[in-house]
Symmetry: C2
Subunit: 248 residues, 2 copies
C-alpha cells in the first residue's frame, strides 16, 4: 500500500505549482510511459504500476530505467491517477531543461494562447507526425506538463521540443524569418507553396491569434470553408495546415 | 428553485437509456443552444438559464421558440449540467427523426467505431466546415446525442445528418459508389483527385477500421507521415483528408 505522504506527493503533481517546485511531472498509461522511458530527454524517477503490467514490461523497462518499480493495487492507482480511467501504470519523470528552439531553415509552430490541454497535446502529436521539431508557445498557453497534455501527446512529447516565450518579441527578433498566421480570412492554403522554413502561428480556440501577434505576421493563411461551421478546432486546423505546407 | 423530480429528469438525460426512452437530449452553452434553436431539425422543449442570459437573448429566442423559459440559479444549473463548467443555459431538445442519407453524387463520411464523444463531435463540426451533409456511423459509435458530442459539435449538429447503420452492409448494397478507407498504408492523399462523390471511411481511435469494412473499401488512402508519431487523432485525420479531397 502507498503511504499517505507519497500519495499526497503524487497527487500534488496534478497541479502546476507543485510540478514547478518539484521539477517533475506524471505520465500515465502503457504507450505514454514507455515512449518517455525510451526518450533521452526525460529521466524517470519512479514507476508505479499494476503487477501484471510490471511483469509483462519489466525486460523492456530495464533497458532504460534502473530505478524503483513499485507494484500497486488498482485502488491506489486510482488515487494517484489524473485520468478518469487509470491505465496500468504511472511514471514520475523529471522535466527536461528547456532547449532553445532552432528557427533557421525549418518550419516551426508557434501557438498563441492555446489553453485547452487536449488541444496542446494533440498539436504536439501532430507536430511529431509532420516532423516539426519545435513548438513555441506564448506564455499563457497551458503547460506542456499538465497531465492531460502529456496524455494526449500519446508519447510525442518525447520528440517535440516545447518552449514558452513572448511571441511578439520572438517574431520581431527574427524579422527575416517568414511568419504565417492561421486566420479566418487570408490566402487559401492550397495557393501556398510547400514550405521549408518559417513560423506558422496558430491561435486561441475561440479568439484566434492576438492582435499584436497577428499584425506582425507576414501572411495570413486560411483553410477554405465550404459549409457553415463558424470555425475549426485549433488542433484540427493545425493538422490541416501542416498537411498542406510541410515538404517531404 | 428546480424541483427534485425535474432535476432528476434532466440529469437522467445525461444517460443514453433515458434519452432513448424520452426521445430528448440536452444541449448547453450560448452557441450550441442558439444554433439548435435556429435549426429546423430540432424542437426545443424547455430552456433553463441564468437570468442575465435569458434577458439578453430573449428577443432572439422568441423568434424560434414559444415554450417556457425558466430562469434558474447557478447552483441549479450546476446540478443539471453535464459540463464541468456550466455555461449560462441548458436546453432540452427533441431528437430529430432519422433521415435517410443521400449517397449519390456527393461525398459522405462513414465512421467505424468512433467511441470518443469529443472526437465524434469534432468530426461533425469538421463535416459542417467542408459541407459534408451526411455522416453514417457504425452501430457501435458513440451516440450523437451524448452531451459531450453535442457540446463539441459547437452547433454543427443542426446542419449535419448523423445516422447509424451496419457499414459493411451499406457498402455492399452500394457497390457502385467508390469507397475510400483512411489507413496507415495506402495511396498518399495528395495523389488522389478531388472527389465529388464517394464514401470516406474513418476508423476507431486506436484500432482503425474493422477488417470486414476495410476489405470492402475500393481504395486505402493515407496521410503521409514525415516524423515519428504512430498515429493521428481520428478527428484530426478526418480534417486533413477532407481538406485534400473535398471539391469546391
Amino acid at each position: 500500500m502507498l503511504s499517505k505522504t507519497y500519495t499526497k506527493y503524487i497527487q500534488s503533481l496534478h497541479h502546476k505549482k507543485s510540478r514547478d517546485a518539484e521539477h517533475c511531472f506524471i505520465a500515465e498509461g502503457n504507450k505514454v510511459v514507455l515512449e518517455l522511458l525510451h526518450s533521452k530527454h526525460f529521466i524517470c524517477e519512479q514507476l508505479l504500476g499494476r503487477e501484471e503490467w510490471m511483469k509483462e514490461h519489466e525486460p523492456e523497462i530495464r533497458r532504460f530505467y534502473k530505478g524503483p518499480l513499485q507494484v500497486i493495487e488498482p485502488s491506489d492507482l486510482e488515487k494517484i491517477s489524473a485520468l478518469s480511467t487509470p491505465n496500468n501504470v504511472l511514471g514520475i519523470f523529471r522535466k527536461s531543461d528547456p532547449v532553445k528552439p532552432v528557427l533557421q531553415d525549418r518550419l516551426v509552430l508557434a501557438l498563441d494562447t492555446i489553453q485547452d490541454p487536449g488541444n496542446l497535446g494533440t498539436i504536439i502529436r501532430i507536430a511529431d507526425w509532420f516532423n516539426i521539431k519545435d513548438i513555441i508557445c506564448s506564455e499563457n498557453c497551458v503547460e506542456q506538463y499538465n497531465p492531460k497534455v502529456v496524455q494526449s501527446t500519446m508519447g510525442s512529447l518525447s520528440r517535440v521540443n516545447v518552449t514558452y516565450t513572448n511571441l511578439a518579441q520572438l517574431i520581431q527578433e527574427h524579422a527575416a524569418i517568414p511568419t504565417y498566421a492561421a486566420a479566418l480570412h487570408g490566402t487559401a492554403l492550397q495557393q501556398l507553396p510547400r514550405l521549408t522554413s518559417g513560423i506558422l502561428i496558430v491561435g486561441n480556440e475561440s479568439k484566434g491569434i492576438s492582435e499584436e501577434v497577428l499584425q506582425l505576421a507576414k501572411e495570413k493563411i486560411t483553410i477554405p470553408r465550404f459549409g457553415a461551421a463558424e470555425s475549426l478546432n485549433a488542433a484540427v486546423a493545425t493538422g490541416i495546415i501542416l498537411s498542406h505546407l510541410v515538404k517531404n
